[in-house]
Symmetry: D3
Subunit: 237 residues, 6 copies
């Protein structure tokens, strides 16, 4: 089984980190591929970035389809950009990492909190929480103020800052579980869980588990109406 | 005061129709401009189309800003593509026509129903209903099965079909008001209202009223955090 | 076009202030009238006041109808007293200023907060937030402790207190926009916006924009069932 | 213990019927009084009627207070007019019959349906369902088309029509319990329950049970903030 | 009329206290019985306890049915264990004390807060708040940290701690009413109300009022579908 | 990795069927065990059954813990009986099959419908839909009228009846995906999917995928507060 991770930003370092995080939790019969676009935003930190990220996801999935396709796709950006469009293009599972992290966190405890990068992205997180059904389950969401690209090398103080937010969401807001709000935090998950003492969920790992489970049970994307193949070949602007 | 309507599809006929509908309801001191992209989807009927429409909206608003800007912007497509990104780019009001139609309909009666083009777009409508706060107010939403581009010339049978859906949403679902789910229906509004006997709301007209009202009272887009200028100049893919 | 503002309390000073605020944002072709009852509560600060205010609104609208009527009505009290009954009496738009302020604030940002007079009125605000669909959009609502009639002359300390509440709702509760919870605050709107740095919405101005927009597009009150003319001429108690 | 029923319409026949229904379920130590205004609407079937009914309730409760007061008040009209204002005036329990019927129905089964008089009153019922927390519990609400005053003498066909609506709400909408949406239906409750085969709840009886229970346990109306005595003596318009 | 209180823990002291609290508010024609199981958890403070408590409730109600039955049952544990199963077994009213307390508190004010024993039980309280429709009405719920069995003798400091939580829920969270989250607090209700200055609701007393009211009006448990007699005689594990 | 399926009814045939369904979708490194109690209900079709099933789940999980434990547990009954209590007992993942099916269905499409056995179990399904966050995602839930034990051998007419309900939920209610509401339907999943043309989700398979994914990423049950080890060893009644 092959799962392809779509990183919509252009950072190859982050793409490699994502692939590594995915491989760590993949079953022995699961092959992980990870791709990113040549052009486009270096990080997804605004609605503007997100609009271009959605187009990048579409292009990446189309290219993969031309090259034989995959058994499942994971959109490796916490805003889940282009998820609905990607579901129109294939009939295998397509899962966003925000979506995956929220589902797994909701099974791990009664409530979760989100710690993400910039607070300006919390509006998008709120939209996704509602869309996936977790607006009641999520008890708090915070921006740490650490930009996406600074996550490539999380030194002591930055790690402490992140851990501080995780602790706050647990101690003050009563979250049972912490959801990490950026693919770039995938490698910090275990250290944060040790520090905070509750499960900490990285969406990349969560998505790999969900995607391989769905592929094994042959449940893909419903092609009824909304996600049926789109009526026209829209080329880029 | 100048209000610029952004039609994210490439149909010049529809752009002209939208401009005409807007001018009919604009106050005497309001100038209406209407623009559309050179390339991109001919109609917005899928999430795929919508992803490209969002980028088109961004490009149109950027171009207008370079040319002096406007006092308000209206995104003239019922999926309100690119609305959040557009709000990051300016501090004047930016209003989607789905948004505008829903607000006005909610003031005109206790409940409304939506009649749109293809049923595959109803998922997006549902997301918007929630985002704007009208999931309880909207009692039903139907796709008429009439594609966007067929609305350019609505002959008798097509009009009757649309009117039939409007009547259904009123008689069977108990809607007080009908919201038309496509900018291309702007010219049918009065005839449908006459036929159905309740207010029928076209989003283009509704958006012009809201935009000029907000511009007059100098309430634009809040630039606090989420809609502050984005951290980087994202160029197209 | 003539818009009539109905102030349900007996304060002529406040009626004049409301008219002035309305005229400042009205289009060049919009005539503003403002009326108040001879008897009844001097301010609307309790459910008891509100019950009598509803009857006052009904009497004012009936009198205006006898004298030729208006193109739209605005109920200029933040509790929107008598709104449903007024909608039964006419087929033009009838808009409450709480309703109008909430709609405009929801377009200006993702979230808003309310700063009103006495905290005892917050229950009514909560009912209205739900009725109009904005219970999720409103992130906080505070009573400033300043009674309605003290707003007639807002000296330095009182203004600072109001501004303090506005700042709290933005900085601590994360509101993108502030809604002023009393018609008597209409003249403070611009100064508060300057102080707080986000859009501040006065319901009187918001209602004038909405009412003239709806009148121009000929969308009034749906007369289907709930708001059809009432079955009997109820005279006062 | 004395419970006073406030019928806000002027029908003495209905007031007597309400008193009889209340006495049938009152405990041996409970005295029932029932009053109605001299002037005002003959029935409450519109928002207009309701506005005047709220004032009637206030006047009735004030008069009763002057005459020594009661241990609890019941507002015997399904729209619960004046409930909030009445709560400001006293510290004993004040219960609306819609409120009471909904609470009892929610304990009697997982879901209930409402059968009321005119469909134009369903909007008010919807507001109350939300206010009391039962919007999810109520699976359907229908207007029977039978005006309030026709309930004074429910002949065969009218009874059959009402029973038909009760059956519909149970068989088609899956309600476990039926709530009767008018004080004037109090005497039909048992016959309807026999016909439909599920519990049928009359709000007058429900309110008497709740009011006497609350009076016995000395839990009245919380006087914290919202329902504290109002700041001024508002006299009628 | 006979109301039987089912205490699912094995504490006879608490059973006696519950019976006393019930008798204090019962009407002159109401007989109160109170029973508890011989074996099982000594207190209900976990989901594990609750699972066994549900079976205890079933056994107690079955035994009472064999001995002639009662006119209504009250499940005297704030988690309302076994409520749905008990409703399958009888057609008279079955009321949980959490359910009863929440209903009465919602009539006594616009909002309530809960003060209970251990915070680990708050998840169950949250489920019940939703099930009964009061998730919006409840503004806060706190665990006092006082275990159930320590309530048998509430000395000064423990009472002060409880009172402190009640005050917090009123002053900081704005609750109009306090709900006590344990049958073992029944005897503290009046003292707490005196201290806090708002109504404090004990579920045992509330349930007795509701149960006798429903029994008098002959509204029991709807036997339609969900609560019809179960398809098999399930004997214990 | 070892996943233990807990079937709370006493049917060994169904236990074997569940194990087979689980093994079909388990990864190559996953060992599946399946257990059921010696005594207790033969099927779980009422709240009464469910109360005993919860105790059975607790006993099964305790016994497994004594014998070395598992890497994850699946409660193989659509009512997810005993889920909360089981989570108190272990720190590995515990997943109910209703929970699992709903999560996977929500990723496979925008909406799902449920087809289950007896309609009397739909109340429990409704509670679970809310608890897991899918009350909006689920567009309809039907009881087929086929008892659990009749599923052991689904002949032609019974299969057609089930398929008919699946088709209804898709065609009439607009579900993108069908969730099967009983572990006993696990072997019908593929045939139903072929017939209906949309993804059909069996909870046993879904739970195995989720459980192995969570075990691989080392995210178990949060032991913070609610699911911490219970304060006492409750033995059975």
């Amino acid at each position: 089984m092959k799962i392809t991770l779509l990183n919509p930003n252009t950072s190859r370092a982050m793409t490699a980190k994502i692939a590594a995080a995915a491989r760590e939790v993949a079953g022995p019969d699961v092959e992980i591929a990870a791709v990113c676009p040549l052009d486009g935003p270096a990080a997804i930190e605004s609605h503007l970035d997100e609009a271009f990220a959605a187009v990048a996801v579409i292009e990446l999935i189309r290219r993969d389809q031309l090259e034989g396709g995959s058994d499942a796709y994971v959109i490796a950006c916490f805003g889940d950009p282009g998820l609905d469009a990607a579901r129109e293009l294939v009939d295998v599972p397509v899962i966003g990492i925000a979506e995956a992290a929220m589902h797994v966190a909701a099974i791990s405890g009664r409530s979760f909190g989100i710690v993400t990068t910039l607070s300006r992205t919390l509006g998008r997180a709120q939209d996704l929480l509602h869309r996936y059904g977790f607006d009641r389950t999520c008890v708090a969401a915070y921006g740490s103020g650490i930009p996406v690209l600074d996550l490539e090398d999380v030194s002591g103080p930055a790690f402490d800052a992140l851990a501080g937010w995780c602790e706050r969401v647990v101690r003050e807001d009563g979250a049972d579980v912490v959801v990490l709000g950026c693919a770039g935090m995938a490698d910090l998950c275990d250290r944060l869980a040790d520090r905070v003492g509750v499960p900490v969920v990285d969406g990349v790992a969560a998505a790999v588990g969900l995607a391989s489970g769905m592929a094994r049970m042959r449940v893909g994307t419903s092609k009824r109406d909304e996600y049926a193949p789109p009526p026209r070949e829209t080329v880029g602007v």
